[in-house]
Symmetry: C2
Subunit: 212 residues, 2 copies
C-alpha cells in the first residue's frame, strides 16, 4: 500500500498511529507530499499520482494493493484495522460504544478546527480573519472540555477515538503553543502525558512539512 | 432520539436520508436550529442544549435515547443504520467494498468543499477570498469527475455513499446553480435525476435556514 503523507498533518498522524498499532508498517510505503503555503487559498500543483488517488486533493490518501484509493482518514483507518484483524481499534456502532463514538467525533472536530486555523493563519493580510481564528479556538476549547476522561482513561485497549484525542493535544502543542490548552485541564494533561508515550504516538511526532 | 437540524445543511440531509431509508422517522424528533450568517466567522449564540450535545458547535448532532450525543454525520448514520438492522447502508471495511468507500470519501469531500465555499461567500468584503472559492470549486469538479458511475449505477441497494453523492449534486443546484456541474457529466446527471426520485431524497430537498 502507498500512503500520501506529510510529517505535519494530524489526520495523516491518525492513520500512521493505526499503521503502527496494527503492525502494518512494513506493508505501507510512505509517499511524502509537498505543500507550498499557498495551499490555504489556492489549488497547488499536485503530483499526478496523488491527485488521481485523491481528487479531494488532500492528505492522507491510501492507495490499496488493489489500486483503489481511499480519500479520508477515518475510512483509511477502518480499512487498515480490518485488514490487520484489529477491528477493536474502531468503536462499534451500537449503544455500548456510544461514549467512544462521541469522543471520536469531538476529537476529529477539534482537529478539523485546528487545520482550519492553520489555513487561516496562512492567508495574506486583509483576507485573514481574527474572528475566524477566535471562533475555531472557542470550538477547540469546547471539544477539549467535552473529552470524557473516564472514557479516555479506560484501561481497555485504545481505539481511534483515544488516538485522535491525543493527536489533537499534540497538534495544539505543535502549532498553537500560546493557546495553553493545558490550563485547567489537569486530568487531560495527565492522561495525554501517559498515552503519548505509546510507541505509535512517540514514533509519529509532528514536524514541519518541507516547502519544496 | 433528537436531531439538531436545519433545512439547508447537506450533512443534516445525509442523516435525514438515512432516517427515511431506515424507517426511523417516527423515532427521531427534529430540533430546528438557527444560524445567523455571521456563523461563517464568529461563534454565534448557541442554544445550551445544542452546544452541550455537540461542543463542536455544528449540525447535525443526534442525542440518542441513552442521552449520549453523536457529533458527526457519518457516525450518526452508522449508528442509525445499525439500530435499524440496516447495516448494508454502510459500506463494509474489506476489499470488496473499496469502490464504495472511495465514492463515500469523494462525495463527503465535495460536500465539505461546498460548505467551505458557502462560509467563504458569507464573509464580508476584504476577508472574502476569490482564490479560496476557486480552489474549492476546482476540488468539487475533481470529485464529481472522480465519481465512478459504474459504482453509482450498481443495481444493489443504495448506501450512504450513493446518498452522499446525490446530496452533493443537490447542494450544487441549491447553492451554486451558476457553476453548471451538469456540463459534460451526462451519465452523472442521468443517474442523479433517477436516484433523486427516491422518497428519502424527495422528502429532504434543501431550503433556506431561517435567520432567526
Amino acid at each position: 500500500m502507498r500512503l500520501f503523507w506529510t510529517p505535519a498533518s494530524p489526520f495523516v498522524r491518525k492513520v500512521m498511529t493505526v499503521v503502527h498499532e496494527t503492525g502494518l508498517a512494513d506493508h505501507v510505503e510512505i509517499v511524502p507530499t509537498v505543500w507550498p503555503h499557498e495551499w490555504a487559498t489556492k489549488t497547488v500543483a499536485f503530483d499526478p499520482a496523488f491527485v488521481a488517488a485523491n481528487p479531494v486533493g488532500r492528505i492522507p490518501a491510501l492507495v490499496t494493493e488493489s489500486g483503489v484509493a481511499i480519500c479520508e482518514s477515518n475510512l483509511i483507518c477502518r480499512y487498515l484495522a480490518a485488514r490487520a484483524g484489529r477491528a477493536e481499534l474502531i468503536p462499534g456502532d451500537g449503544d455500548a460504544d456510544l461514549p467512544l463514538v462521541r469522543l471520536w467525533g469531538l476529537a476529529d472536530g477539534a482537529i478539523e478546527a485546528m487545520i482550519a486555523t492553520r489555513a487561516e493563519s496562512l492567508r495574506t493580510g486583509a483576507e485573514r480573519s481574527a474572528d475566524f481564528i477566535r471562533k475555531q479556538m472557542d470550538r477547540i476549547g469546547r471539544c477539549f472540555d467535552g473529552f470524557d476522561l473516564d472514557v479516555l482513561g479506560d484501561a481497555r485497549s485504545p481505539t481511534i477515538a483515544h488516538l485522535a484525542a491525543a493527536i489533537a493535544c499534540g497538534y495544539m502543542d505543535f502549532r498553537f503553543p500560546d493557546e495553553r490548552w493545558r490550563k485547567k485541564r489537569q486530568r487531560l494533561v495527565n492522561w495525554y502525558e501517559r498515552f503519548g508515550q505509546r510507541p505509535s504516538m512517540a514514533m509519529t511526532r509532528p514536524g514541519e512539512t518541507p516547502q519544496q
